[in-house]
């Protein structure tokens, strides 16, 4: 049984590490600021969830499990807030995103 838990925990930790690594590659490969934020958010969300889930399995039923859960919840609440602050600051300071705009009025017709 503990063997099973170890295996699942290692799978979670390794795949979490893989997502963090891919997020890092993405931050280097992406062409501009706004697209880099997307690569970083891969590290924030999926990497965090998988790695903390892996550690939780190692912790077992203890006080540490509650703390790890709390860390997960706090990270998942604060990471998107930080991303928003970053993207919003860039937008307000006049960095124009190189992107097409879609709005519900034009039914998917891209505007230049």
């Amino acid at each position: 049984m503990s063997m099973m838990i170890d295996i699942v925990s290692w799978i979670l930790l390794l795949s979490g590490g893989a997502f963090v690594f891919i997020g890092g590659i993405g931050a280097l490969r992406m062409p501009n600021f706004y697209t880099r934020v997307h690569a970083a958010s891969l590290t924030d969300s999926m990497g965090t969830i998988l790695i903390l889930a892996g550690i939780m399995l190692q912790a077992g039923w203890s006080l540490a499990l509650i703390k790890l859960l709390a860390i997960l919840v706090f990270l998942l609440l604060t990471c998107p807030t930080a991303s928003y602050a970053l993207a919003n600051a860039a937008l307000l300071s006049g960095l124009k995103p190189d992107a097409k705009t879609l709005s519900p009025d034009d039914k998917g017709r891209p505007t230049p």
Binding site: G23, G26, T35, D44, M46, C79, Y84, K100, T101, P104
Partner: protein, 164 residues
């Protein structure tokens, strides 16, 4: 503005949550540590009163009770778009088609709109850039992701989560 009795009730509620959190976090039950806990809980409640936390009923227990269902819907969405973004990053041609989506938020209150914006940001491949006057502006890595946002699943679920 709520009546004073409701304010007292939510003030005591916050105090109880803080006390339980302190006891669960520290795990050390010595007089000094417990005394510090009492002081910091009271200090936090005082700060909450000062910033006007109790003047507006912004967050209800009802929302918290609906959160597990919301999260169990959000988690698979995060997993799905994580694989999508990872595929785009590792693709030799880097097939991005950055798209910005603008739409009206269905949740009327500030909490609902914050939850909506943060849920969208939390999902890889979409980042909320601006929330203003109930309108959201979302930057998407691919056109496919933009169409998912336009389908309105996030908007509808966040509205259901925070409705009275």
């Amino acid at each position: 503005m709520d009546s004073p009795s409701i304010r007292i009730r939510s003030l005591l509620g916050l105090l109880a949550i803080l006390a339980v959190a302190w006891l669960a976090w520290s795990g050390i039950y010595k007089p000094l540590i417990l005394g510090l806990g009492v002081v910091s809980c009271l200090l936090s409640v005082w700060v909450a009163v000062r910033i006007g936390f109790f003047d507006r009923a912004v967050f209800s227990l009802q929302v918290i009770s609906r959160l597990p269902r919301y999260w169990s819907w959000l988690l698979p969405e995060i997993a799905k778009s994580s694989f999508e973004v990872a595929r785009v990053i590792l693709h030799p041609k880097l097939p991005i088609s950055a798209t910005i989506v603008e739409f009206d938020a269905l949740p009327p209150g500030p909490v609902g709109q914050a939850i909506l914006g943060n849920s969208i940001s939390l999902t890889p491949g979409t980042v909320t850039m601006d929330v203003h006057d109930g309108k959201l502006r979302v930057h998407c890595l691919t056109r496919h992701g933009a169409e998912e946002i336009m389908a309105g699943g996030f908007n509808r679920r966040a509205a259901e989560l925070t409705q009275d």
